[in-house]
């Protein structure tokens, strides 16, 4: 598989505060990449650079061997769909209207949906289990339901790359797993390249093929999930004591508070 995303020596700062420094990595098409790190490490900034919303000071981002800055907004939106944390729009669009906006990069003028568009939209609504709300205004849904609607919109946008910024932070366990299962399915069946920013390392470690750990001091580690999301790395990058357990193929992490440390749980770990 070819490299669909190429990041080379990416540097970015807000004023004098450097957020990213000399960050380089490649993502092959059909990969599932999880980005983790403490607050302020520049994870969301990285997504904004990848999607062309911010411009790098030095270095570059290439999508399909072409710099993101050389794409028109319209062409780039056919390559990358972006799911942010759910929000309530000022004007109360219905679920169907919101998901239909995914077809905007493909339509001219007034953008009335073709039959093919409607099929894609219906499919996206069905996959995310949101079709039963199609006629309801977004604000009448719960946070988790709304998040699924935005994911449906990203599917309907029909792009090879999906960027998701903390897609499961407001979801209950069932829907957290549901979303990750769905993303994995999109990866396996449609060769989508998926990048998620997450605080949930356990889910990331279960689903992602590749991990990127970023620290506030601009250092980073990139590689196969198993190597990146190890206790040593996690403790170093998050500056916290972590308890790890291996269950089957997967690793699980639990941050330890003072009480647990005092109770001597750490020693059992070695």
């Amino acid at each position: 598989m070819k490299d669909i995303i190429k990041v080379q020596n990416l540097t970015f700062s807000y004023g004098k505060r450097a957020v990213l420094k000399e960050l380089s990595f490649d993502v092959k098409q059909g990969c599932f990449l999880s980005i983790a790190g403490p607050n302020g490490a520049g994870k969301t900034t990285l997504l904004n650079l990848l999607s062309g919303l911010l411009k790098a000071e030095t270095g570059f981002v290439e999508i399909d061997s072409k710099s993101v800055q050389n794409y028109s907004a319209r062409k780039l939106a056919r390559k990358i769909a972006f799911v942010r944390q759910e929000f309530i729009p000022v004007f109360d669009y219905t679920v169907a209207e919101m998901v239909s906006m995914a077809r905007m990069p493909y339509s001219r003028s007034l953008g009335f949906e073709s039959e093919a568009d409607k099929k894609l939209i219906t499919e996206a609504l069905t996959m995310t289990d949101t079709i039963q709300f199609a006629c309801r205004p977004l604000e009448s849904l719960s946070g988790g339901e709304r998040q699924r609607v935005f994911i449906a919109r990203a599917f309907a946008q029909d792009t090879p790359i999906l960027l998701l910024d903390e897609p499961t932070s407001f979801l209950d366990y069932k829907h957290q797993v549901g979303i990750y299962d769905l993303l994995k399915k999109m990866q396996n069946e449609r060769q989508k390249t998926i990048l998620t920013v997450t605080h949930d390392i356990n889910l990331a470690a279960q689903y992602a093929d590749i991990g990127l750990l970023m620290a506030a001091d601009n250092s980073y580690v990139y590689g196969p999930t198993m190597e990146v999301f190890s206790r040593k790395q996690i403790e170093k990058f998050f500056d916290a004591k972590i308890l790890t357990a291996d269950i089957g193929q997967s690793k699980f992490f639990m941050p330890l508070g003072k009480l647990a440390k005092d109770a001597g749980l750490i020693k059992n770990q070695q």
Partner: protein, 355 residues
């Protein structure tokens, strides 16, 4: 998944999205109502006219068929009202979308104070040139409005990160500054000049010549058509700049077109009729409540309903006290004020930014 049992047919039914056919039907129905209202309101007035006499056409000379002449006279006024109403409602839709604020109106970015300043300068300097709508006030109002909006746009672009906030801030600052200048000019004006200015500020429809109506129709019609062209992408822009960009919208172009044309049609409307309030606020609100927030639908329907609303308000203004005419701005404010409060109460429970 339970969705497997749903057939294609019911799914399509569930997927309620706007179609071209539905939109065209709605536009045709509203246009029909507009034409009906025009003819009803033309036949209402302090002077009774007979339809059969009007249909006889103009007489051989002036004064031969008074009924026909009154009919044409009122028609000019009613069409002017329709144009102004359509422009203000359309501009209101666009600015509410652009600023992501359902309480915005066409005057929010300072266009009103710019136009008012232009008018006051025209009155105080006692100019007597006659262009555009017949008086220098109209021309000065137009120029004042356009210069102000350019200034606000320039400051807004210059001022900061968030386009929406910096535009609003620039509008507030320019508004405050121009208001101070207006206060100063009013304090040195003679009482006769003051009366003319105040009457203009209240908003007042008067009959315009056919040539003025023709030019205004082209400007306002063209402006609304251009705005209709970007209405689909404006939907994405109401979700915020980043969201719109990620949906493939060239936000700078869409924002410039939206801002430019809405300011332009507002300036045309203001130069025709002074400052008529509330049309640009309550009509978009009402249409949005009934038809939803899709701008492809919201814009044309608001324009048509704005025209209808202002024709009716103006008919009330010119008939309610017999021959004594009220400024139409008084009627729209009296009707619009309470309606606005109801909407505010309704929205403040629902809209996030008010919490």
């Amino acid at each position: 998944m339970n969705t497997d049992i749903i057939t294609d047919e019911t799914q399509r039914e569930r997927l309620k999205v706007l179609t071209g056919k539905k939109l065209l039907t709605q536009i045709l129905i509203c246009s029909g109502v507009l034409i009906l209202v025009i003819f009803i309101c033309v036949s209402i007035g302090t002077q009774k006219i007979s339809i059969s006499k009007v249909l006889d056409g103009p007489g051989a000379g002036a004064g031969d068929n008074i009924d026909y002449e009154i009919f044409i006279f009122r028609l000019r006024r009613v069409i002017t009202a329709a144009l102004v109403g359509a422009a203000l409602a359309a501009a209101g839709v666009i600015l509410q979308g652009l600023l992501r604020n359902p309480l915005a109106d066409p005057y929010i970015l300072g266009i009103s104070s710019g136009a008012a300043l232009g008018t006051i300068i025209a009155v105080i300097s006692g100019l007597t040139i006659t262009i555009w709508a017949g008086s220098p006030m109209a021309l000065f109002a137009f120029v004042g409005a356009i210069l102000t909006i350019l200034l606000v746009w320039y400051i807004g672009r210059f001022a900061g990160k968030s386009q929406v906030t910096s535009l609003l801030l620039a509008g507030v600052v320019v508004n405050a500054f121009l208001s101070a200048v207006i206060m100063f000019l009013i304090s040195i004006a003679k009482s006769e000049q003051l009366r003319t200015t105040v009457f203009w500020l209240m908003g007042n429809i008067s009959e315009k010549s056919w040539s003025v109506i023709a030019i205004a129709s082209i400007f306002i019609g063209g402006g609304i058509t251009a705005l209709f062209g970007i209405s689909y992408r404006l939907n994405a822009l109401t979700l915020g700049d980043s969201e719109a960009k990620n949906l493939g919208v060239d936000t700078t172009t869409i924002r410039t077109v939206a801002f430019g044309f809405s300011a332009f049609i507002t300036a045309v409307a203001v130069s025709l009729s002074g400052l008529i309030g509330f049309v640009g606020l309550i009509v978009p609100h009402g249409v949005r409540l009934v038809f939803g927030p899709d701008h492809r639908q919201l814009l044309p329907l608001s324009a048509l309903i704005g025209g209808i609303f202002l024709i009716i308000a103006d008919t009330i203004a010119r008939t309610i006290f017999g021959a004594e005419q009220l400024p139409v701005g008084v009627i729209t404010a009296i009707v619009g004020g309470p309606f606005f409060l109801i909407l505010l109460a309704r929205y403040s429970r629902k809209v996030g930014w008010l919490k």
